[in-house]
């Protein structure tokens, strides 16, 4: 169970990764736009002979239609099916033969693809990603194949895995209007019933250079790379459709939602989800620090009280979901065997009340700042993390340079700011509370 919660949180952190977190030494990069709208960021780092070629498309599950959820994630799969010049199955094979690795992920807000290669294979990476952007294969065979794969994935990662349903059960109660109300995987029926032309329309709307940023980080020479980017990407035509983007239209919550979910888990889990602003908002930084106050490290409020002292919880975590539009912060706890979940929840609520009514100490504030500085510095040590952070900064805020200035924002949060966000957002009438209980009890 511990490893499941850990895996779940690790998954959360990947899907909702912190964008553009600055290191105290600046990240150097060059950026420009091609005529077709493709934004390009080149970040040289000649320390090791590796390069990452990545593209982030500004499309996620929140861009989907309510009766056709799961499309953004579906495309993450479809984009490996090959292109007009790359036969089925060969896309990954080219990367493996070159000694590289590749992967992708989809979130509520973005879809991100990357290829890691030895640096003398930069052109291979450019060819692969430009091929996909230019003329990915969106045909019946590929669609049919991936429908099966995606259904399997839904079963394995969400429906069959312990706590796999946490997110979907949370968001569909927490959101009533906004397109965050369904999860990234979406509904199986929507994918199965969708017709080929619907997938093509989705592709033509979102998979266009003017909706994308290309980030290349690693052992490159900027002046040599620019003509190569031009060679592979300049001829790709921009999209012509109006890109569908939802508004942050979730109405303010006025009362608590409380529910019990029976699931294939062995130990119960308590979840509280509070509505919080999106990451561009000033309050977001204080909110993140509040999360740390509650659960980062063994001296944190929830860990010390619930795990160490009162021995009520096996594990506890507080994590804001890092979303473009107003999202949620989650508090999760698994009770020790034999502990009544209600007792554990009462203890959690007691700690939250403290955070709402008392200013944290100066020492605690300094601790939080140190923790964040450490986190931010370490989040930019690999070319993969830098590429992702640059891509996210550009996609969310149209400003990649924020990678170099976010630390200041965290360091300028005050004790009052943290008290304010606790009072504003950690309110009973602003939350969803779910108890995940073992189905086996209901035999």
């Amino acid at each position: 169970m511990k490893s499941n919660l850990r895996n779940f949180l690790a998954l959360l952190l990947v899907l909702f990764a912190l964008p553009s977190l600055a290191q105290t030494s600046k990240i150097e990069f060059t950026e420009y736009k091609l005529d077709n709208g493709l934004h390009v960021i080149l970040q040289p780092d000649n320390t090791t002979p590796n390069v990452i070629v990545s593209i982030m498309y500004h499309v996620g599950s929140k861009n989907e239609l309510a009766h056709r959820t799961g499309f953004a994630h579906f495309f993450e799969h479809l984009m490996f099916e090959g292109t007009e010049n790359i036969p089925r199955g060969m896309f990954s094979r080219h990367v493996e033969e070159a000694g590289g690795t590749l992967n992708a992920f989809t979130s509520n807000d973005v879809t991100y693809y990357y290829v890691m290669l030895p640096s003398n294979q930069l052109e291979l990476g450019l060819w692969l990603e430009s091929e996909r952007l230019m003329h990915a294969r969106v045909d019946s065979i590929g669609i049919a194949t991936q429908k099966g794969v995606v259904t399997e994935e839904m079963k394995q990662t969400r429906d069959n895995r312990p706590y796999g349903r946490l997110l979907v059960e949370t968001v569909n109660r927490a959101f009533t209007e906004h397109t965050y109300r369904w999860d990234v995987l979406g509904a199986d029926e929507h994918i199965r019933n969708a017709e080929d032309h619907e997938f093509r329309e989705f592709h033509d709307m979102f998979y266009v250079p003017n909706n994308a940023v290309l980030v290349i980080s690693g052992d490159i020479d900027v002046e040599e790379t620019k003509p190569l980017v031009e060679k592979y990407f300049a001829e790709i035509t921009p999209g012509t459709m109006n890109i569908r983007r939802p508004l942050p239209n979730e109405p303010r919550r006025t009362e608590e939602v409380r529910d019990t979910v029976y699931d294939n888990v062995q130990l119960p889990l308590i979840l509280q989800a509070y509505h919080i602003p999106g990451r561009g908002d000033d309050d977001y930084f204080a909110m993140e620090m509040l999360g740390s106050l509650l659960s980062q490290g063994q001296s944190s409020r929830l860990y010390r009280s619930l795990v160490d002292e009162k021995r009520l919880a096996l594990q506890v975590a507080a994590q804001p979901l890092s979303l473009e539009h107003p999202g949620l912060t989650l508090i999760l706890a698994i009770p020790q065997v034999g502990v009544d979940p209600k007792v554990l929840e009462d203890a959690i609520n007691e700690e939250l009340e403290k955070a709402r009514t008392e200013l944290i100490s100066e020492r605690e504030l300094e601790k939080l700042k140190n923790q964040f500085e450490n986190r931010i510095v370490n989040s930019n040590t690999t070319i993969a993390s830098r590429a992702q952070n640059l891509a996210m900064s550009h996609t969310y805020f149209n400003n990649a340079s924020l990678v170099n200035s976010t630390l200041e924002k965290y360091l300028s949060v005050s004790r009052e700011d943290i008290l304010n966000v606790a009072q504003e957002y950690l309110r009973e009438d602003n939350r969803v509370v779910l108890y995940f209980m073992p189905k086996s009890q209901m035999n």
């Binding site: 290191q23 105290t24 030494s25 320390t47 090791t48 002979p49 590796n50 010049n85 080219h94 493996e96 033969e97 070159a98 000694g99 690795t101 890691m116 290669l117 030895p118 003398n120 294979q121 052109e123 291979l124 450019l126 060819w127 079963k155 429906d159 069959n160 895995r161 312990p162 060679k231 029976y262 294939n264 062995q266 130990l267 119960p268 490290g297 063994q298 001296s299 010390r304 065997v337 009544d340 979940p341 209600k342 007792v343 020492r363 300094e366 601790k367 140190n370 923790q371 500085e373 450490n374 510095v377 370490n378 040590t381 690999t382 070319i383 073992p438 086996s440 009890q441 209901m442 035999n443």
Partner: protein
Amino acid sequence: MKKIFLFLFAGILLTFSLSAQLDRSQPPKPGPAPVVNIGDYNMFTLSNGLKVIVVENHKTPVISWQLSLDIDPVMEGDAKGYVDMAGQLMRSGTKNRTKQEIDEEIDFIGASLSTYSTGIYASSLTRHKDKLLDLMSDVLLNPVFPQDELEKMVEQSISALAANENDANFMVDNLITSVVYGEEHPYGEVVTKEKLENITRDHVANYYNTYFKPNTAYLVIVGDITTKEAKELTKKYFKNWEKGDVPKATYANPQAPAENTVAFANRDGAVQSVLAVSYPIEMQPGDPDAIKASVMNSVLGGGVFSGRLMQNLREDKAYTYGARSSLSSDKVVGRFTARTEVGNNVTDSALVEILYELDRMVNEPVDSESLELVKNFMNGSFARSLESPRTIANFALNIERYNLPKDYYKTYLERLAAVTTEDVTAMAKKYIKPENAWILVAGNKGEVSPKLARFSAANEVLFFDPYGRKVESSGAVIPEGMTAEKVVEGYIKAIGGADKLKSVTDQKMKMSTEMQGMTIEMESVQKAPDKVLITVSMGGNVMQKQVFDGERGMATAMGQKTELEGKQLDEMRLQAKMFPELDYANGEYQLELLEVEDLGGQPAYKLQVTNPSGTSVTEFYDVASSLKVRTITTQETQMGPMTVSASYDDYRDVEGVKIPFALKQQTGPQTMDMKVVSVELNSGVSDDVFKVE
């Protein structure tokens, strides 16, 4: 005019020549292979013998400190587990600080610090290095091993064992430990509850006092620090660490078995087996064979993409989701293991294929395409690993510890590129032993083990418990002439006799249980021959309902109604019978008397009962009383197979019929105790009760 024309013409030519350069139909060729730079390290030794290695890296303002003891493994005996605990407990309190103070000070500087039996790892931003070293040295030099923290840790470890006990991978891991290495070797000791309970504070403190000495330790410092500064700081914080003699130990290395031997750990109700083929090998880190052997292992069953094991067992035969092999080097003794998880009915076939692939590895040269793919993969992997300063630190440590040539890692890629097909075959001949292997299986003894005897040269399977301890194949002997049918007859007689049971036309039963502080009530109403209504309520609210009216069945949960169909409906029909055991002998059920098993001191007949719809249940009938005392079912849930064990106790007479009043249901670590509150027989139940709508 001409000029413009020429200009346009040149423009067109230029456009043509540009697109002529880009042929999208082919992947572009790579540039020249990049040069791999592996930084150097500096080393110095303190007067107390501590060897310090410094890898400077000023890219980010972070420094990590890795302390490693270079000691021989320790035989722990009947308190196995104390070595690991000693390591972890160092952080739980020192002469100067309580655990909470340590936690708070580490968190305050945003650092990480962890302790373990062979060292300490700490990391922080450069500007906190003094504080970090202050904490690290305190934890290193002054641990007090608080009694209450030790007890907490023992308790947690025992819970963890109990939770894992029924896990097939846990069982195979323990088989690998005890069978491949043997109990006489420190690598062959398995942690059990009894051993954990023997751990005292003395064990833990003595371990620390004996082995944590600077003269057999390395400190590897990586990051934003100069060698000069490293010297100053290490002297300041570690000079008081006193050197001393550290006991050395050598052990007779375990050998691969003279012939293949099958070792089996039983999992009641298992529908899958975890299967490993393993044996010890001699290969130390830095062995000249290391790279070639690694390539060979990748071809067989390692790496990200499919090796021969995957191609065979997964792609070709679809026996499994994953089949892999590992060939690991070790200072003391290395090991080869091929491992997979497969269904019961293909366990023997999977084993055939594994042995076939091992054999093929020895006898059939690898084709050049596969070899290139493996080498490219390992090349890329190596290059990517260089991004992490920890990798460089480990390189330095290995060179020093194992006396490797200073350029061992710098020449790694060259040596990798030079590996040939002949090299791979030579490595296979040396390290792949399809005829001297331990075949280790955790699975369903009744269904699977009989088919595995033939893989053992001695034509017999050795049995083990979940902790790798040998058990004799069964306790008591099945009495002469005893059959499954007779066991069931004995049970029917014991609970009232066939006539009495048939005279029960309806039954109402109320049960209750406590779960996580909530009371759950269950009520079942049955009417002969096969109508049933079951309701489950919590706090007066009906949460779940199941009803079967003889033909149709419906399940209601949280307001959702589902009509039962197919297999579910058939199961419902069978379970709706008042006393299904009365039908066991009707020819539609399959019964098998497996053995007599010891259940907590009481022998019980173990039966495999397969009902007409194909579902198998393992049933235990107490030998002395003939009563049914336990059933084990494996349910196919969306999450995969889940084993549910139900125990029946406190049989009481109700109008001539014996009914168990205490039921205990266990699924993994979750136990539910149910008590029967009331039973009514033949009270007159209307058919309306079972209306399906």
